[in-house]
């Protein structure tokens, strides 16, 4: 892993089109600004991982449970 030391208000450019700005540093918290093309997804890692895990759980359903699911009917 590449490690770069940066100060407040400095930035890092990745691949010409992504720029990370160090906006503020406060004890153990850093505020980072991200300038990237809109098709590049940017997420907080813990939320990203939580959704990923939940997707893995969701894909594992047992076909035997499908009958139970049929109890959920539309109200309309």
């Amino acid at each position: 892993m590449l490690v770069l030391a940066r100060k407040k208000n400095q930035s890092i450019i990745i691949s010409n089109n992504i720029e990370l700005f160090i906006i503020d540093i406060n004890n153990d918290q850093v505020k980072i600004g991200i300038k990237a093309p809109k098709e590049i997804p940017v997420h907080r890692k813990e939320i990203y991982e939580e959704i990923q895990n939940e997707m893995k759980n969701a894909a594992k359903f047992d076909p035997a449970q499908l009958d139970d699911l049929s109890k959920f009917k539309k109200n309309k």
């Binding site: 809109k38 098709e39 997804p41 997420h43 939320i47 990203y48 939580e50 959704i51 990923q52 895990n53 939940e54 997707m55 893995k56 759980n57 969701a58 894909a59 359903f61 047992d62 076909p63 449970q65 499908l66 139970d68 699911l69 049929s70 959920f72 009917k73 539309k74 109200n75």
Partner: protein
């Protein structure tokens, strides 16, 4: 018309115009881009999101309005632009359902909803900006 053998369902057919493209895949399944939606019961609130590229990958999905009163889809404008939504009439919103060992534990992933442009069949799984929506929202209590 094409047929796909789905291990948990048998042969299911779909049409070319039903193919939905997730350009960036689903979370955790980034390599799979092509899906279609099918249902086995018209009355049920549940439908299935099926990968065409890997027949083993099926998700149970539902439109959240069926089980959450006052459901709010709060997502970034960029996500809507990426699937080219100009008119909200073309937007369809689903959430992924998780069923574990017991049906009582059925939950909906409200934090990572799916949006589909029904005109272009482009779709994306997005992250909800509403911070009280979780990945494990129980739907059974709400229903009873």
């Amino acid at each position: 018309m094409m047929d796909l053998y789905i291990p948990r369902f048998g042969n299911i057919s779909y049409e070319e115009n039903q193919i939905i493209t997730f350009k960036t895949g689903l979370f955790g399944f980034e390599k799979l881009k092509k899906y279609f939606i099918f249902k086995t019961d018209e009355e049920s609130i549940f439908e299935y999101l099926q990968s065409i590229e890997d027949a083993n990958i099926t998700f149970i999905i539902a439109q959240p309005d069926h089980f959450i009163k006052d459901y709010v889809l709060d997502i970034s404008q960029t996500d809507l632009e990426l699937i080219k939504i100009k008119d909200y009439k073309n937007l369809i919103n689903y959430v992924i359902i998780t069923v574990t060992d017991k049906i009582e534990n059925i939950t909906a992933n409200l934090q990572g909803p799916i949006i589909i442009n029904k005109k272009t069949n482009e779709a994306k799984q997005v992250i909800s900006l509403k911070d009280d929506y979780t990945t494990k929202h129980s739907i059974l209590n709400k229903k009873e």
